[in-house]
Amino acid sequence: MTSFVFYDTETTGTDTAFDQILQFAAIRTDDNMRELDRFEIRCRLLPHIVPAVGALIATGVSPRLLTDSTLPTHYEAARQIARKLADWSPSIFLGYNSMSFDEELLRQTFYQTLQPIYVTNTNGNTRGDILSLVNASTVVAPTALTIPIGTSGKPTRKLDTLAPANGYAHSNAHDALADVEATIFIAKVIGRMS
């Protein structure tokens, strides 16, 4: 059976080399995108990382949460993420804009914490990006998805506007688990139209 792992990260900023994961969430599904398992973890801010204020505002993360001593450290979180992804292997790892961002960040995280780096594309695992599917669907099947118009007057494919425009109640955008669920919803919409 082929399984998919949809995942998302919330971070201290958009620099994959110098920012860190603050929240990681993933849902494993079967090939019909029915949920089999889910995993979520938050972690503390590393002492040498300065977060981008815009990122904290977008994700609603307060300094108290960043330094909450009850949360696991970044290292502990990375170990748990690596272990969970290994448990779920072999799978197809998917996200929204993940090839450009989350995959890079995940590799950096694993490199910095001495975990196997290429988890999502070795040992039978492969990876993809739902944003690429969305881009392809707008050409191949233009009516499959409703592409909303952004504030600039141009079509936008941002998840927090695309998912609601297609009927998903995305009330908690920029929470990693909520974004994973929205990504699965978009994948299902495309899947139904294919």
Partner: protein, 88 residues
């Protein structure tokens, strides 16, 4: 290859090999300036969070270096983990 092309190639290579360009990591001051700029841009629902973040960053700036060097941790891996400033 001229000097400009050489420079671009070096930057690209550094970026691909080490994952960073010439800019480096974000500084505390840079982040605090961003908080000040955002004060007028964010909506009312985010103002209290922004204030909390700004205060936290300002306190960090005021308190000097974020990570105080700890001489006891130098030169011995055995101290990593016992040093409160090194989080593993």
């Amino acid at each position: 290859m001229n000097m400009v092309e050489q420079s671009k190639l070096e930057t690209w290579t550094m970026d691909r090999l080490f994952g960073f360009g010439p800019e480096g990591p974000r500084s505390l001051d840079e982040s605090y300036q961003e908080a000040c700029r955002l004060t007028e841009d964010v909506g009312d629902e985010h103002q209290s969070l922004l204030t909390e973040i700004s205060t936290w960053l300002f306190d960090k700036l005021e308190s000097g270096p974020w990570i105080e060097p700890n001489p006891s941790a130098q030169g011995s891996l055995g101290h990593i983990g016992q040093d409160q400033n090194v989080e593993v």
